[in-house]
Symmetry: C2
Subunit: 174 residues, 2 copies
């Protein structure tokens, strides 16, 4: 951030009175611009004994596999966001069963919430951010071709509890 | 948002190619500025059979009672953030027991995570954003003087399970 989004003047890093951290503060209007972590929402979507994975068509990690996930938008709940991402990336209509995991990925400023979900039908189709997709048997998951650590973590967690109806506490870390 | 935080030129609401929503897009450099929900983290902090509440010294809802909570900062986990807020608002050192609730407060663009926690000692002291604080018996909680709906919800949830060791599934709504 270099300029104030409210008045267009340059910002400078300063510590506001009573604050414990430096912030981007406008040198003209004094507006304090906070930078906050973002929420990522996703879902492990099952159809019977298979799980939906999508191969990314976009960077980072284009060509590697993920579960549908993305940034939460203003105006939607975390569950809405997980359903939207499943639809955008895979044309998938899902029913959310429960919260599977919350991961803090501090280095990149993300709080990631993954839900367990059931596909309402197996007719899935790659969206614009997806090269291809498939419903994988658990034994066929391409563990060495997953795009991000949290995809590993959440699939491992889903695999652990796949035959147990639960309810399950959400995993709070890898 | 009126100006681009990267180059200082005016922004306009436009729908980027392939997007489904209008975004603030820079009219000069083309930067797309997303607005994302924020994460609020807090804790219901117990000392034996009492619960810590703080009376707000700041707007909104100055003079009303809350559990320690605030915006998650970049560079910390959600648990770190809940511990920091308890320390900033009440000088409280806490041990987090588990995730108590996740609330989507869509209207104000917040995802709120509340933990259950134990005070490591009962020596609490009002921070600069707190008028006064106290350790309330459950029967003495000032239900009609709470600052926000989610404070109601999480205290009611904590009260429901207060004598049950758990583990408990986090509440996902009121």
């Amino acid at each position: 951030m270099r300029f104030c989004s409210e008045c267009g003047a340059p910002v400078a890093l300063r510590r506001p009175e009573g604050d414990t951290l430096d912030r981007h503060v406008c040198t003209a209007c004094g507006e304090i611009h906070y930078r906050n972590p973002k929420v990522v929402v996703g879902a492990v979507c099952r159809w019977r004994d298979r799980v939906l994975l999508c191969r990314r068509a976009i960077e980072p990690r284009s060509g590697l596999w993920v579960v549908p996930a993305g940034y939460l938008e203003t105006g939607e709940t975390t569950e809405d966001g997980a359903r939207r991402e499943a639809f955008e990336e895979a044309g998938a209509r899902i029913e959310i069963a429960g919260l599977l995991a919350i991961y803090n990925v501090v280095r990149i400023g993300q709080v990631q919430l993954f839900y367990g979900a059931r596909l309402l039908d197996p007719d899935v189709v790659a969206g614009p951010e997806t090269l291809e997709l498939d419903l994988f048997e658990w034994g066929a998951i391409p563990w060495d071709q997953l795009a991000f650590p949290s995809v590993h973590w959440v699939l491992r967690r889903a695999l652990e509890i796949k035959d147990d109806d639960g309810p399950h506490l959400p995993a709070l870390g890898p």
